[in-house]
């Protein structure tokens, strides 16, 4: 089972805290990959939080191509974190440059509507990815303000130390981190969690048995960025994106999309009519688990949900100022040992647990409760 650890904090934290928590949860062989999502960054990236940051891995040739592409689009580099390593540990291939580069957007951006700007960011990322796939010289994981993503194959702790992720300019307030296990060896880095699109990021463990129909459905939504699907878990990110952007629904509604209530549970629910409608409309996005999904929304809200069967472990806990979501309790113990453990919560089959970016409390929302009023 893949290990998941996410941390949300009022103060920036080293990504190694999350990686160490993963390491504590390690059982048996592990080395299929590690992925990191970092937002709420400190250091130079925080100076201009509105500048989009491109994260990816580039060969020397790819980096030159990237410069050409970004130059043509009018993006000017502002600050970069470039990690270049020559002697990778066993199991990790030798790559080029691990890059996180913030760009000053073109002047015209100031007058562009928000939707157009975000669409262009997604299209640019997808275009770089596609061009990179043809030449095998560029990999782009995210292109979004205030977000850095890092992915690599290998043991998470070894990879984290190898890449030197403890550096201050990668300290972040919100971190999602996954260590992959039990996956095959034809490893594609794009299959490493977490997955990201337009500020929405999620990671998952477990198999997604309804993957093929959901992938077909999402691919046909005509939404730029609903591509890839090297992992069956990428659909969870896109469903959240769809729920957030296309349906305009809050985090509490996500669970109603992926695991709707049964008719008996819905009877007498304050939002019965709306939920019944949602169940019909979003039927193709119903998942069948077993999955634990942890994610982060554009506003910094971090959440955890389980599938309908609740076959995976998952716990959220912490203290005001810092909360963590972990696929196993020992990970949480390692990261925040001085918390009140009696307040730890393991979301069950109806629950959504989330922590707002202020990090003051864990909110639990059961599907049996009313949805918050729509603005």
């Amino acid at each position: 089972m893949c290990r998941l650890f996410a941390l949300t904090s009022t103060e920036p934290v080293s990504p190694m805290v999350a990686i160490n928590a993963l390491n504590v949860m390690k059982e048996g062989h592990d080395g299929s990959g590690v992925g990191l999502y970092l937002s709420g960054l400190s250091g130079p990236f925080a100076e201009h939080p509105e500048y989009p940051i491109l994260s990816g891995i580039f060969t020397e040739k790819g980096l030159k191509r990237l410069d050409g592409i970004m130059d043509d689009l009018g993006f000017r580099p502002f600050h970069s974190v470039s990690i270049i390593k020559s002697s990778p540990p066993a199991g990790t291939p030798r790559r080029g440059v691990y890059l996180a580069r913030a760009y000053e957007p073109p002047k015209a951006w100031a007058d562009m509507p928000e939707a157009e700007r975000t669409a262009q960011l997604v299209q640019t990322r997808v275009a770089i990815r596609q061009q990179g796939e043809a030449e095998r010289d560029m990999m782009a994981f995210s292109f979004w303000p205030g977000v850095v993503m890092i992915k690599e194959v290998g043991d998470p702790l070894t990879v984290g130390e190898y890449l030197g992720l403890d550096r201050p300019d990668l300290h972040a307030r919100r971190i999602l981190c996954q260590g992959r296990q039990n996956t095959n060896y034809a490893i594609n880095l794009y299959a490493c969690h977490p997955f990201f699109i337009e500020g929405v990021c999620t990671m998952t463990n477990g198999e997604n048995t309804a993957f093929i129909p959901i992938r077909e459905y999402l691919s046909s939504r005509n939404v730029p960025g609903y591509t890839g699907y090297q992992s069956d878990s990428e659909v969870f990110t896109h469903i959240m994106h769809f729920t957030h952007y296309k349906l305009g629904l809050p985090v509490e509604a996500y669970k109603h999309v992926i695991t709707p209530l049964s008719d008996a549970e819905m009877a007498g629910h304050p939002d019965q009519d709306m939920l019944a409608r949602l169940k019909v409309l979003c039927r193709k996005m119903i998942i069948d688990g077993p999955n634990c999904v942890i994610g982060c929304l554009p506003d910094g809200t971090m959440f955890m949900v389980q599938d309908r069967k609740k076959l995976r472990p998952g716990v959220v806990g912490g203290k005001p100022g810092m909360y963590a979501f972990s696929s196993e309790l020992c990970g949480l113990d390692a990261a925040i040992p001085d918390r009140d453990k009696t307040l730890d919560f393991q979301p069950m089959h109806l629950d959504t647990a989330y922590v707002r970016p202020e990090c003051q409390e864990v909110t639990i929302c059961s599907q049996l409760q009313a949805l918050p009023r729509q603005r």
Binding site: T209, F211, Y217, C282, P290
Partner: protein, 544 residues
Amino acid sequence: MQPTAGITPSTLSVKDLPWQVEWNKDTCTLCGRCTSVCPVSAIELAVHRKRVVETTTGLMQKPKNTYSVFHGIRQRTDAAYACIGCAMCTMVCPNNAIRPMRLDEGTALRFHNNRGGHARTRGGRRNAPDSLLDQIKFIRISMLTDPALDAGRHEFELRTLLGRVLPPEQGLKAFQENGWVPAVREIYPLVIGSMSFGALSPNMWEGLQMGVAYLNEEMGMPVRMCTGEGGCPPRLLRSRFLKYVILQIASGYFGWDEILHAIPQMKEDPCAIEIKYGQGAKPGDGGLLMWHKVNKLIASIRGVPPGVSLPSPPTHQTQYSIEESVAKMIQSMSMAWGFRVPVYPKISATTTSRAVLNNLVRNPYAAGLAIDGEDGGTGAAYNVSMNHMGHPIASNIRDCYHDLVQQGCQNEIPLIAGGGIGKNGNLAHNAAALIMLGASMVQVGKYVMQAGAGCVGSEIDRCNICNLGRCPKGITSQDPRVYRRLDPEKVAERVVDFYLAFDTELRKIFAPLGRSTSLPVGMSDALGIANKHAADRLGIQYVV
């Protein structure tokens, strides 16, 4: 045969017939039940003359002949009275002294069943025992990486949607603005397909309705049944049970005068309206109820005079194009029930199915598309239509589903698959395979008759006289002397039995695949087949 009898081209011997009646003189009690029950008078009481040559030892006495007679059964060899293999004779014989046996080389009848220039007509099925659906295996079994589920104890949602589903954004907006949305029914994915009141006997229809009502009201299974083109009994139209009924309208519009006049008195809306443009067993041919079956009751429900054959035209005479059909028929039927009832067309599987579907996708009033494959059954059709016309269902459904995926409408317009599902008894398997190929639900007819009422039809041209009104089980007969054999209560019990068994088997298929929270429509990664061409064509895995 007498030595002086002439031999005509159509003179057949018993050996020329596909079904041969074996009769045991030693155990026969001459009770006569077999001859009286035979629906086609293939056997008759006969007096057989027997000669015995008696020779004694020695030379003094000459051998002599002794003539005697014995009474028994004789099988007629006239093509019009050929045995159909229904084995009712065996069923009624107290001593099991008689039974029909199939003789595969008895093919001569095939060349002589067109006496008077009339091509053979019959009821039944295609008579092709092979089934591509039966070859499909479910290969994606949950093992360790994701736990398999307990089919017996886990919760399952085995429901499907019948009706037009709007794209999520549009549907939610309509909800927020209190706008109109097309009617959608959540129903059980196994629907009793269209078999008309007329094609079926009153007892059979009553039994089915009772079974459906029991499943809904006692077992909580939202099972639906389609009427076929023959109207609907007036009391049912005005009862609360109408909500379990899909009313069918076809090119003959039989019974629709009664239905339309009953609308103001309806307590419930029907589940849906099915507009039949074609059926899989005889594509491009209209429905047919032979005059033998049009008695007073049938005639009054259908609004026609009794004793006349009722052929429906092959097409709806008032429509000349698909666009017009959608505009006229679907919208006006929707309007009749205030846009509260899903309306969908049913067509024969054909290479033009995709064109029909693409048209329906663009009309928000089209609630689905039912496609009936070549293995569908019928009450009456020409032999040639049944055997050689039509398109297999699997690839047709798959193509249509792929088209929907391409247009992003795969959750919006349900595909209803029919034709040959469970033809060899594998009902749940066949249904699950079609669902995973892209069907939202399946329709069955023949299986319902076989499992629900003991129809003896099989895929080797057995019985198949549904068209004559002489169904030996009383399933498709309109003669009270015959259909009183069928107890509606027992039919209802059997319907409930096979539905419950189907439900268990469906769970037994879905649970190991790790699926329980929604019907796995289009889960093609779970399917495999040991036939490379079929695998490529259907876009599923080739496994050996």
